[in-house]
Amino acid sequence: MRETLLFVAFFIVILIVVYLYRVIQGPTVFDRVLGLNGISTKSIILLVLIGTIYERVDMFIDISTGYALLNLVGSLAVAKYLEHRGSA
């Protein structure tokens, strides 16, 4: 099971590369925001996965909660900011 979880973590890292392509390439700023949102979701899953692999989920789960909340604050700030000024 542990090897399977390692494989799953590896797969998610590859998926993060796909989202990173959208963050770097994306024609508008909103594409980058959406890509960043996807990356943060993958990061939360990856943190819980790493905790499961190390069998110390109790340490890692608190960080992922903080991640999720801060992601909300950051993305809403970006959205508010872009809504005010228009975009390029």
């Binding site: 973590a9 590896f10 990173l20 963050v23 980058r32 990356i39 890692f60 903080g66 801060l70 950051g74």
Partner: protein, 176 residues
């Protein structure tokens, strides 16, 4: 277990850092730096440094992105695209040499998690053996920061709190 997930993560770190420098738009550079912080926090968590990962995710990915964006919102003109000047040739030659020198020096460092390295034989065993019965805290890093070095942490918090008060006093808007 040797599994090269962390090598891919470090590669992603290099890619995001380069992209944040090379991208033309300031907002995009800020967002790419946010993803850089995410990758860095995952690398810390992969190596088991949970506290550092937490600080990196809170400060780097959350607060720094919001502060950068607020600064851009207040200061930057409508068109935030930048035209960077070409770097001087001394930097192009000197910085790779410095990097090679640092890599050469890094080959002398002890291995990751080596129990015989100088950092883990001096005072670390004392803390590791006594922290549970001294402080009744399962996390050793927390017990060192909050118990053995409590005054240090307290004064650090006072300094940061003072800085925050000063910023709030200087930057507040006068509502007349």
């Amino acid at each position: 277990m040797i599994f090269p997930v962390e090598i891919f993560l470090l590669l992603l770190l290099v890619i995001t850092a380069g992209a944040a420098i090379l991208v033309k738009d300031l907002i995009s550079a800020v967002l790419i730096l946010g993803s850089y912080s995410f990758f860095l926090a995952i690398v810390w968590a992969w190596f088991g440094a949970v506290d550092v990962a937490f600080v990196e995710s809170v400060v780097g990915a959350g607060l720094a992105t919001v502060f950068f964006l607020l600064t851009l919102f207040v200061t930057a003109p409508k068109d935030t695209r930048i035209h960077p000047p070409s770097p001087p040739w001394t930097a192009l030659i000197g910085l790779p040499l410095l990097g090679l020198l640092l890599l050469y020096a890094a080959s002398d460092l002890p291995k990751f998690g080596d129990p015989a390295s100088p950092a883990s034989v001096h005072v670390s065993p004392v803390y590791l053996e006594n922290s549970m019965e001294d402080t009744l805290t399962p996390n050793v890093v927390t017990s060192i920061l909050m118990d053995y070095r409590a005054f240090d942490t307290l004064i650090e918090t006072v300094v940061i709190f003072t800085a925050g008060i000063a910023c709030a006093l200087l930057l507040r808007r006068n509502r007349t």
